[in-house]
Amino acid sequence: MTGSKAKQLNCQEALRKVFDFVDGALEGVSLVEMRTHLATCRHCFDRAEFERLLKARMARLKANPASGELRARVQSLIEGG
């Protein structure tokens, strides 16, 4: 047994942790507590799902590859530097 035991979160506590959850910053007991709450609370589950979806949409902005020119420029910088 580790020191901290899982407790029941209320919605306010769960919503305060929603971004930590979506960002993958919860672990151990905190993560268990959050998952338990989300499994039983429709509202908080929907909120977490929405933030997760939005975060996934943000990630699409990453599709911005460097041009061949930039790649060549950087390569010559490294070789010359």
Partner: protein, 206 residues
């Protein structure tokens, strides 16, 4: 100061695979392609000069992002474009991380109307997001880019921006609140707010 051939090869091996990531960050920071390319080139040059500082190779990404964001912020200072930062920071002070797009979209009135949150995220274009993001001040933009676009952990963002983890959390919360406020405006333009008002009137008629 210049690297040995061996070091140069190693530098290439760890830095070149991250070129697309650096470029994506630079593009959304600078909002201009040629300026972004210059920023990436400058970052690689500075990184090359300081490569020996990087002892832990697993931290190459936050290390590069730190060089890139520092170079970006120092060019902002030179052009004095950072004035808008304090303006927007002050503006955002009163709602410090409290605006929730979800709450706006999932008004209890319309629970019978379907799932407006999901409908909104489906209708939202990448361009809408890009524009909303571009309207944020640099400090807010960079923290969202590092977290949501580049997928960095709080600890890595803390290293990249040289701020404590607690500040990463609060700045990210505020930045998201501002971004969601802008996306809410976008949702209203798409008719989400309007339909809700109309539905409300219809509901009242019944």
């Amino acid at each position: 100061m210049s690297l040995t051939d061996e070091e140069r090869r190693e530098f290439s091996d760890v830095v070149l695979p991250l070129l697309d990531e650096m470029h994506a960050l630079a593009v959304h920071l600078c909002r201009n392609h040629s300026v972004a390319e210059d920023l990436v080139a400058e970052t690689v040059m500075r990184a090359c000069e300081n490569f020996r500082e990087l002892r832990d190779r697993s931290k190459v990404k936050p290390w590069l992002f730190r060089i890139l964001t520092n170079a970006f912020f120092s060019s902002c200072r030179k052009q004095k474009t950072r004035q808008e930062v304090s303006y927007e920071e002050v503006q955002g002070e009163d709602d410090a991380g409290s605006f929730s797009l979800f709450q706006q979209l999932s008004h209890p009135f319309l629970l019978w109307w379907g799932n407006p949150e999901r409908e909104f995220t489906n209708k939202l274009m990448d361009e809408d997001i890009r524009r909303a993001l571009a309207e944020l001040c640099e400090d807010h933009r960079v923290v969202i880019l590092l977290s949501d676009v580049e997928g960095l952990s709080y600890a890595e963002i803390s290293e990249s921006l040289d701020i404590p983890i607690g500040t990463v959390r609060s700045r990210l919360a505020r930045a998201r609140s501002m971004l969601q406020r802008k996306l809410w405006r976008c949702a209203q333009e798409m008719g989400f707010g309007v339909s809700r008002r109309r539905s409300r009137q219809e509901a009242l008629k019944e």
